[in-house]
């Protein structure tokens, strides 16, 4: 599949924003941290990342002006559901932010915070389901697709919140430790996803054309001499050549390094600010590479019609 930069930035940036909002809200609700400024700035960064991501996602649309129509088909479409929940999440997280900066934390704040957490995670879930539900892309039909999106939000937001908390002289040990666990889990999930992805195939030239009874099927002549939309959008091949290298980058830069840095920060209070900040940046960098691979490596069923 063609890796559109707008979609990669949307999923990484809003995933990070939702993860950060999740951590700030849950740590504030449970009173693990209780700092008006920490909450205010944390949620501000989260809202900025989410909004930037949502705006980026409209950039790949052919008619962005009609984007409001995408809120209508939530009964059948995961993309529509994502749009609806994303807007709700912005409302609830903004309300929670307002309570945080004005330091008015009554029942209303508690309810909007919990709804903020719920809608944040649901939006990421919808993002994952958009891809996981697509039948023509066998690799994405893995049960791990959506959990990977969710865990990535927890991981990237987790190290960022730990770093932020440490800058406010509070204890960021809890989110840092849980992010380390998330990174290790995610590494396992990705390895298992890649293993399955190399095995599964949705259509073969024989089953696609139904000519398998005659024997092996290969394309003798393509329908058109130059690449068409289908070839350009679904037939992306660059990544397959470099996939081993890029997977190693995801594992080392995105998971291994943040785990080591996260642990150093946990064991050494003086280094925690620097370590967790770098861990957050590296895990986000890893997420961008992972997301690029997620699209670029995925093989679409239609390629069976074109295989020679």
């Amino acid at each position: 599949m063609h890796p559109a930069y707008s979609v990669i930035f949307f999923t990484t940036s809003s995933g990070f924003g939702y993860g950060l909002a999740f951590w700030i809200l849950i740590l504030s609700l449970t009173k693990v941290v209780d700092d008006q400024w920490l909450g205010g700035i944390g949620l501000m960064i989260a809202l900025a990342a989410i909004t930037f991501g949502l705006l980026a996602s409209t950039m790949h649309l052919g008619n962005p002006g009609r984007a409001w129509r995408a809120f209508s088909q939530w009964r059948s479409s995961w993309l529509s559901r994502e749009g609806v929940v994303a807007v709700l999440s912005l409302v609830f997280i903004s309300l929670a932010w307002l309570g945080m900066v004005t330091d008015v934390k009554g029942n209303f704040w508690v309810i909007s915070s919990w709804l903020g957490i719920l809608t944040a995670l649901t939006t990421v879930l919808c993002t994952g389901m958009i891809y996981q539900s697509l039948k023509p892309i066998a690799a994405w039909q893995s049960k791990l697709t959506t959990p990977v999106y969710l865990t990535y939000a927890i991981l990237t937001g987790g190290f960022a919140s730990a770093a932020l908390i440490s800058f406010f002289d509070s204890e960021g040990q809890l989110p840092a430790a849980l992010s380390v666990i998330a990174a290790i889990t995610l590494a396992g999930m990705k390895i298992s996803y890649w293993k399955r992805a190399s095995r599964v195939i949705s259509l073969t030239p024989e089953s696609a054309t139904g000519l398998g009874k005659l024997g092996k099927v290969r394309q003798l002549e393509a329908p058109h001499a130059t690449a068409n939309y289908i070839n350009k959008e679904m037939g992306f091949k660059v990544a397959r050549k470099h996939s081993e290298k890029l997977r190693t980058i995801v594992l080392c830069m995105g998971f291994l390094a943040p785990v080591i840095l996260g642990l150093i920060g946990i064991l050494n209070d003086g280094l925690s600010q620097v370590m967790w900040s770098i861990a957050a940046l590296l895990s986000i960098g890893g997420a961008v590479v992972e997301r690029w691979l997620f699209f670029a490596e995925a093989k679409h069923a239609v390629s069976a019609f074109y295989s020679s």
Binding site: G83, A208, T209, L214, P223, I230
Partner: protein
């Protein structure tokens, strides 16, 4: 509504494509382009039409395959277009309601005024039936020539899709595949018509008729033919 119709459509209009008689002339693709560039989905945009890398929207694409090896192997011309599936995921993924399946005849259409050009429907189609028009910023697809088949200003025998009307080999047939007594359904039953990529569960309406097994090839691969030319001729004459 992009939810699929709950009951079966009253009719299931679609095509039956005979892979035995298709000669791969691309006339269906050309006549389709000609009609539809002025039809319901108009225009079928061309990018760089006079350049070295032309690209553009076509609703029919004719592949040519080699299937099998040696005596039983053969060349098969293979027109590919929208199959107007009974369970089209291209419709249910659409966030705006631009993609829909008609309850009256099962045709899958795009309302271009509602399409935001997110391209997700083209990802959800395993058959590559939807092609994006970057000029208009909307998705385009086969309409089964909705503006021909119901067009009362055309003579009745011309109220068939453009690809069917033009096929010089009569390899394309149009009709109601939901009615077991229609000509197309009978044709499918008698020739063993099949669904493309049926393991994905889209339940295509369009059916493909398999190439007939050549008698000559069958004989050659199974029998010990007499080597002598005259004897072989006599043998064949007598076995008929």
């Amino acid at each position: 509504m992009t939810s699929l119709p709950k009951s079966n459509p009253a009719k299931s209009l679609g095509l039956v494509i005979d892979l035995d008689t298709c000669v791969g002339c691309h006339a269906c693709a050309v006549n389709c382009k000609e009609w539809n560039t002025g039809g319901h989905m108009a225009p079928l945009t061309d990018l760089n039409p006079y350049d070295s890398n032309p690209d553009g929207v076509w609703f029919n694409r004719v592949h040519t395959y080699e299937a099998g090896d040696r005596e039983t192997g053969r060349t098969v011309h293979f027109p590919r277009s929208c199959l107007h599936c009974a369970e089209p995921q291209c419709v249910s993924v659409c966030p705006t309601g631009a993609s829909y399946k008609r309850t009256e005849d099962g045709i899958v259409l795009v309302d271009e005024d509602k399409c935001i050009g997110c391209k997700l429907c083209s990802w959800a189609c395993p058959y590559g039936a939807r092609e994006y028009d970057p000029h208009a910023g909307v998705m385009k697809k086969c309409t089964l020539c909705i503006d021909r088949i119901y067009n009362e200003t055309l003579p009745e025998n011309e109220r068939v899709p453009a690809c069917v009307a033009t096929c010089p080999a009569s390899a394309r047939h149009f009709g109601d595949l939901g009615d077991p007594n229609s000509d197309v359904s009978k044709l499918v039953a008698s020739r063993g018509g099949y669904d493309l990529g049926q393991e994905l569960g889209y339940k295509p309406t369009n059916k493909y008729l398999p190439p007939r097994t050549s008698k000559k090839a069958q004989e050659r691969s199974t029998n010990d033919d007499p080597q002598n030319g005259l004897l072989r001729w006599v043998d064949r004459l007598l076995s008929n």
